[in-house]
Subunit: 423 residues, 2 copies
Amino acid sequence: MTQEKTQLDPKEIYDYVKKNARLVEDYIETLGASGMQPSGGIIRPVFSAAWLEAHRKLAAWMREAGLEVRADGIGNLWGLSKGKESGPGYASGSHLDTVKEGGKFDGALGILAALSAVRFLKELYGPPRLNLEVVQLCEEEGSRFSKSFLGSRAITGNFPAEELDQSRDAEGISVRQAARACGFDPGQLAAAQRNDLAGWLELHIEQGRLLETTHTDTGIVQSITGIKHLGVVFEGQADHAGTTPMDLRSDALVAAAQAITNINSLARDLGRPAVGTVGKLSVQPGATNIVPARVELTVDIRHPDPATLAELNRRAHEICQNAAASQSCGVQVELLMEKQAAPMTPAIVKALEDCAAELGISSMPMVSGAGHDSQVMVEKIPSAMIFVPSKDGRSHSRAEFTPLEQIMPGIALLAQVFYRLAY
Amino acid sequence: MTQEKTQLDPKEIYDYVKKNARLVEDYIETLGASGMQPSGGIIRPVFSAAWLEAHRKLAAWMREAGLEVRADGIGNLWGLSKGKESGPGYASGSHLDTVKEGGKFDGALGILAALSAVRFLKELYGPPRLNLEVVQLCEEEGSRFSKSFLGSRAITGNFPAEELDQSRDAEGISVRQAARACGFDPGQLAAAQRNDLAGWLELHIEQGRLLETTHTDTGIVQSITGIKHLGVVFEGQADHAGTTPMDLRSDALVAAAQAITNINSLARDLGRPAVGTVGKLSVQPGATNIVPARVELTVDIRHPDPATLAELNRRAHEICQNAAASQSCGVQVELLMEKQAAPMTPAIVKALEDCAAELGISSMPMVSGAGHDSQVMVEKIPSAMIFVPSKDGRSHSRAEFTPLEQIMPGIALLAQVFYRLAY
């Protein structure tokens, strides 16, 4: 097979992808119409009518591309480009669900890029040597049920059956009920597990501005960052803002301000890819003329190196303690959520880097600061991710946008690596 | 008259006040029952049923004390201890209205202290030489109509007649309608103006912890502080907290935190009585994993010296500009409210200081950090204020409390100064 590969002119794939840009655009726009609101934002939670409509569009396009289509018990949609040889194959895709008022690219683009790449390869070179699959993963955003990654956890065997009934949406509807209402058979959850995949690839918009600001075509993800969310409460004393001298106060907001400043400096001083953010804050009693008695805030810290994340966490706690003490306030710090860092599989990362070089498209190694299905997939399947630029870094917003000419290099890279691995 | 005064043993007045402490306690508890909620807090906005009930209780007690009782056009209640001589007399009192869920002491205690002092003097020494009046001022808290100080502004001629119809409560009821419904005649507003008062005294709880922490019986107010309220908006950019490196952010909350810290330091460094407070703050979009795009906050700065307040204001603006610039954010600063500082009348202040010394009660010169009717009265009438301690500095709260033994020195001081000025 190595011989065949060296014979291929990488320009051929890239040119074919570019020639078919209009088809990709049609896919994006047509899929984006499902769940589209008058505002221009998309509301497409998993197992909703809008989601099911989009699911059916995808299934039709898969059939049109000559793929064998099936849905598994949890509602993942698979389109198989059957290989001439048996043995572990490769898959690519992403999620179809959106946040409230999300955009057309987050998730959806990864499925459409996989569909396009597999379709174009089939049109150019016929059936692959090994199976290639396009996958719609049924849930990633966590905006309907308390737990997220339903699809990728079912595939990797990390979806306990009891969760089908225990995890419910705001209306009390369970995952099982919602999946059944869409015509899936959650009783077949166990059969959704896949032990026969040699590799997984996910193309996604960057959701940041690094590719855009450096004019780079693609990001090749080396690792998905580790995350800790802390909930912090500063407790001071409510006092009259006019009659209480500065030196007799316990001002919870002054304590919080010191913590915000120092957590920002901490992440800044560590340098990229460390990040630290206070995104949510509330003040009580919250009156112009009353010294704040209580401030609740969240801290989001991320780093791909577990030891560095642990150190960030330790120092964030220390910062909150010191800030509280400086204002004679009390403080409680609670761990709200954590996700372990997920390094991508070096062999797949290397294949992507080599293929980018072959195609003559620019690429840069990146850390994904956001979570993705690939962090679940990599627990069981060799995995890597391709990022394409996000205009102004927008995501989870109707302003989310990547121009067609910035999508084509990513699809070409996906096609090229699939060719290398499976043709 | 001077001869008579030197003959008086100041202990006599103080002893009489202490002997009648139970009456003062009854006044406080009985008045506090009007508007009392199951929570223990009082809701007694001006012209409400609870307020009118309290108004009637006061009128009855005034009559019982032998005072001539009348209400003016805006609803101030006057109780006159008729002087043997004609000529300008003296008055004392405070306001009857409370904030929502307020306490029994803010405002009410000032009326009851004046009633007690005038009554005790009459019981001890008969009618005064000059008129002494007890006043219930009809509105101070500003919790019903858009403008406050209705009573004291009517007395000093600072109440424009058109405000009777223009100023309305949340239900659209005008001041005129509300006053009429209580049986007052707002058509007689102009006649509420008093040009025949030689002096005004107001006893009030401190609403701070200075007297309590220094174990001082009374505060003698030298000046009511000047206030400026600023509304500040920081505008940054909403970005994904995971995918946006620290050095590419415009974090509105980090800018706000710097402003909060520096405004606090500014007031702290200036020293008492300067104060600077950020009491209200909101963050948008306000999500754990999104860099804050917009923060709105309020700044409350106070100082009794107009030049220092102006400097505080200039530097607060500068702090906000610098904080915004440091994070590449925009900023707008708006003046929401300002009150000029109101120095008390030196002759009346001196009389209070002398009488405190005569009585052997401790006193300290103070700046009132909160606003009071006396700041309106002093524009036309020589005025001063007496502060008594507030437990834990509480006010505008059901926790508001001053024990009887900490009230008696204030009432004795008020009686003593009335004796000196009007007997």
